[in-house]
Symmetry: D2
Subunit: 379 residues, 4 copies
Amino acid sequence: MTTALATEQLETLHATKTMRALVFHGPNQIAVESVPMPKAGYGEAVIRVTLTTICGTDVHILKGEYPVKPGLIIGHEAVGVIHELGPGVSGYEIGERVLVGAITPCGQCSSCLGGGWSQCGGVPIGGWKFGNTINGAQAEYLLVPSAQANMAKIPDELTDEQVILLADIASTGFSAAESGEVQLGDSVAVLAQGPIGLCATAGAKLRGASLIIASESNPIRKQVALKMGADIVLDPRTTDVVAAIKQLTNGRGVDVAIEALGTQATFETALRALRPGGTLSSLGVYAGKLSIPVEAFAAGIGDYKIVSTLCPGGKERMRRLMELVLHRRVDLTPLLTHGFPLHQITDAYDLFSKQLDGVLKVAIRPSQPRPLKPGDEQC
Amino acid sequence: MTTALATEQLETLHATKTMRALVFHGPNQIAVESVPMPKAGYGEAVIRVTLTTICGTDVHILKGEYPVKPGLIIGHEAVGVIHELGPGVSGYEIGERVLVGAITPCGQCSSCLGGGWSQCGGVPIGGWKFGNTINGAQAEYLLVPSAQANMAKIPDELTDEQVILLADIASTGFSAAESGEVQLGDSVAVLAQGPIGLCATAGAKLRGASLIIASESNPIRKQVALKMGADIVLDPRTTDVVAAIKQLTNGRGVDVAIEALGTQATFETALRALRPGGTLSSLGVYAGKLSIPVEAFAAGIGDYKIVSTLCPGGKERMRRLMELVLHRRVDLTPLLTHGFPLHQITDAYDLFSKQLDGVLKVAIRPSQPRPLKPGDEQC
Amino acid sequence: MTTALATEQLETLHATKTMRALVFHGPNQIAVESVPMPKAGYGEAVIRVTLTTICGTDVHILKGEYPVKPGLIIGHEAVGVIHELGPGVSGYEIGERVLVGAITPCGQCSSCLGGGWSQCGGVPIGGWKFGNTINGAQAEYLLVPSAQANMAKIPDELTDEQVILLADIASTGFSAAESGEVQLGDSVAVLAQGPIGLCATAGAKLRGASLIIASESNPIRKQVALKMGADIVLDPRTTDVVAAIKQLTNGRGVDVAIEALGTQATFETALRALRPGGTLSSLGVYAGKLSIPVEAFAAGIGDYKIVSTLCPGGKERMRRLMELVLHRRVDLTPLLTHGFPLHQITDAYDLFSKQLDGVLKVAIRPSQPRPLKPGDEQC
Amino acid sequence: MTTALATEQLETLHATKTMRALVFHGPNQIAVESVPMPKAGYGEAVIRVTLTTICGTDVHILKGEYPVKPGLIIGHEAVGVIHELGPGVSGYEIGERVLVGAITPCGQCSSCLGGGWSQCGGVPIGGWKFGNTINGAQAEYLLVPSAQANMAKIPDELTDEQVILLADIASTGFSAAESGEVQLGDSVAVLAQGPIGLCATAGAKLRGASLIIASESNPIRKQVALKMGADIVLDPRTTDVVAAIKQLTNGRGVDVAIEALGTQATFETALRALRPGGTLSSLGVYAGKLSIPVEAFAAGIGDYKIVSTLCPGGKERMRRLMELVLHRRVDLTPLLTHGFPLHQITDAYDLFSKQLDGVLKVAIRPSQPRPLKPGDEQC
């Protein structure tokens, strides 16, 4: 048998190769199905996903609130093992464990070269491709574009579970404190302690805030908030949060307020809780119109800053965040409350979207969680 | 006659000494009247005002839209000659010409020591005292608090007219470009070309913007906009400003959009004209609620920054701005379109508030415009 | 007896009132002596010093390496109780406990109004006045200039010992990380772990460094370095520090290197330990010439930043640092290794300058350490 | 004849295709020779060079002061027409005029993804590849690596001569003002007015400096300095530059001093000319050791910043700089004093390296300067 024939047969085999993945077919229509395996082209890589998770954005997609094309594999957070490397991807080896960012900048467009990696391509959130404009991570295998820029090797000391949340939620949550330019000794309010708010709380602590005031009414989340760095957690159902924040800061207001829910109410609370000249760092994803209260004529919108942040991307960001975990500056594993194999991911969606059973984040394990040795790779 | 007696008589004389000033008595009630001369206490100075002007804020006060106490002398921009120095004010001499900022920070409170001079005292715009919480500049004499921090000597080469607008409008206008962190090569839109917008245009030019797109429909202001640095002026009555800006930037949007009118419409235009990741720098003074359009669910409020800026204050700021004028980086005299003596200031208010006769800013001259020699000071 | 006479007698009494203080009479000539009590003038306050300490700079003065006028009371770090308030100082009460910064900016000169509080007056380190250009803190009482700007009330929850090091060494040490702009996930080297280096280590931790590599050979200081946040301490006597740092950072070099000793050797180590584009943050006080190695022609001095920082000052800085202690972000008390009453301060100088007995910082207690109630104030 | 054969023949033809280029053979050994034409691989492009120039660095290479491999084509500045596009380069067309930066970042390594494009690859100045580690621009054709990231289309309105200096010298010169964070109203000194110093002067003007003090003794360069934005040019042969700068700034010193020569003398002048807390922005390429004078013990190296800057790279940078030229913010053509065809480039090296005839920069034109239409491309 000639080599040419062998190659051809292999190609045929490959074409028929399939994997299991969660496919979006339309609002409220998702299913785990067999789909063709991806194949790495120039500058691309395929990773075998060992751990992924579900993001609030995925739930919005599921509900039809954020439109994606039917037939798309969704999900944008992935830890995995390199399965295939396309030409032009150097410095990596098959079998290495990598963390892939939710944002996959190309590094070579004007936005990227201006430092706006999350706006890759010049389109707002154009850097977010997985499960948005290309197939995503809730699958056995994931095709990584611009692989050279977007795969960060995971130190051996770290488990998949320790790093998976760095792909999106922690990177975004921490960035609220970074974009808000939290300084040593700042007082910071973090409004809402869902997964993203909890990460923002951790980020404020990491940046050297002296006082972190969280607001949250869910008792389990209140407990985790304290663990992530909050000094006090106010319950918005029973407390006038703005008044309490003013009191806790001797009438001054906080230096930075982080909005982490995406509602008009929390946005207003954040704005009113600020000291004059303070910064509102917005993480929330808002619907419709957002209204800025302008009470006093002369103040206009005061002397405030409002910054909003998308998830920073790129392998260097992933590397830096893994360093923080490696050296025990932060531990995000308390947020991974539940685990599911891929074939039960629809159950995970149900639990997560309804916030049942104290769920914070779910671990989805498409295959066995530990990396295989290169020789074991046989799919 | 003993010295003691002489002093006493002098004090009596002083008590009865009066000056002319514009007094606010309530909405739509202002009059030039005789009021007691101010006297410099510890750390204070009295300047003889040689040039002052009217600000849009003064018109708001006049209309009752911004509340101040009846009986107050209004106005917050002053060029003058030092008439009296209280104890504790060193490094100055009677007869020196000085520019006094609209914002008069104490320099010694927590806000000032944190770099928030315009929030002096911890109250929003607490640094704005003249014609707000203390007597102001539309008078023959002005009592300057924290004089050590707030009087900047005027270089001999500069006329009163060249520097008066630096007290407030130019300092604020330029700061829109500074707070918006305009970078070399940025494209900048400045929405509305009233006096503050014109100064923002000049500020964007000074900071190294490569392309400045102004919007304005008033034909005189359009002309001045070009003189202050605009590359093109769009007419919002006849042009879709957002579309035109996108076209002028090859579909990209501007890096920084400066809102200089204070309306929902210009605010929205500014936001929509931005490139992904751009900055809206807000100068406008808004009334009621300001609404942020959040079209797309996923975008939330995008990856934008919204910064609002109050007038920076203090003598160092004044000195720096005068250096820009001295070395011909900017010339603001085209904005001073009309002149009035103090006793006709109500006419000036009428002209200015109705925007008649192509007025931009009015020069009010309480006394003769050139500085007297020390010996001449006898009021 | 008339009031006039009573006042006169009181003045006489006051003139003769004395206190104990450490007086510098020339190189190697210091003595605790009786000197006149200070009296608060306009804008000044007198505090009864309850705790002070000795700085490396004081040792330089003692040795004649930094010149001050003979007859001066030295020392620039003070915790105390307000004993007298001059006119013009409001918002404070006799008997309140305050922390006074080593740097006492006036808040009203051009440097201060430009944000350069430590350059108050426009002279390098002009903000450092205590024990340099005016009488200092190693005394029973201390006259505080620009008191309104420089006294920060101490929260009841904090002891004198918990805050005294914030006056200078911690403020300066932390600022090395702040000026070096340590970012989340940065690797940082801190070269030398004397008191200032230990505080820099704590500062790097507070700012969110992921990996802190200290260098120090003194075994006690090595232990404290780990307590203050170092992940590893290299011994420069037995280790090639540059090579070890490169290895610990996978060949990359650190993002920020903090020089905390003031020698050519540590400066060079810091520079060579940097990654391309890294920042050298210099705390050391150098003598003579400092040489920058420029090995490769093309590299010039590379693409580096070298920043040097003086102690930031003002009550707002002190307040922020106390907040960090209050909320347990940092504990500096392990650095206060020895205590002395004022009358034994020369013994303290001896111990401290010779670095005997594992000394880091000495606590000098001019009077009883706990604050008196207002009624008790009778000196 | 089959297609297969045709391709083969074409390949052979191609292999024998040659172009003219300046080849470095060792110190003081350069010659224009026929060398093989480059061929674009994946992600690469070949441009036909219409304009290039000689940099001071090239002279260092020629003299053997900076080592490159014999056989290398040198030069790193290029304007040209796209001649060939490798696979994976999209959004460009054959025949388009482009500016290629001297620094050609890959956009996908850790340095690039951390914003350190000029440190691409993690090696100092790893971003500088042309005429350093790969063949350069002093040739008829240039192979551009990471072409997607490094070719910026030239607006039709601009000539080759208007943009060629943006590739390196202007980008670097401007960056001195940017890295030095020149603020509105700053006073800036630019020490030496060679080509790079002249660009730094232009950069300081663009950033809004109020006073620009240049130092230079060459009479022609003094004239050009004034044209580029200097307010005054001091002659270091006849003037005490530090003293004159202090006098021109009322004893204060400049906010930012830019060193643009690379000597110990100018470095020291720059440092001494600074105000307390000022910034030295270093452009010079130094040899051997650079010494920081540390006169006063206490000052250490003061409260200064020293920043050094390599040429920023990437197509977005090029685009922004071209925008500045397009909108007439700056005109660099006065620096292009002489022109040569490629076959006379050794004469150009002679003139440039000896600074004869008032030369500033030389224009080298490998082919005709105007872009051909696509159909004309026949080499």
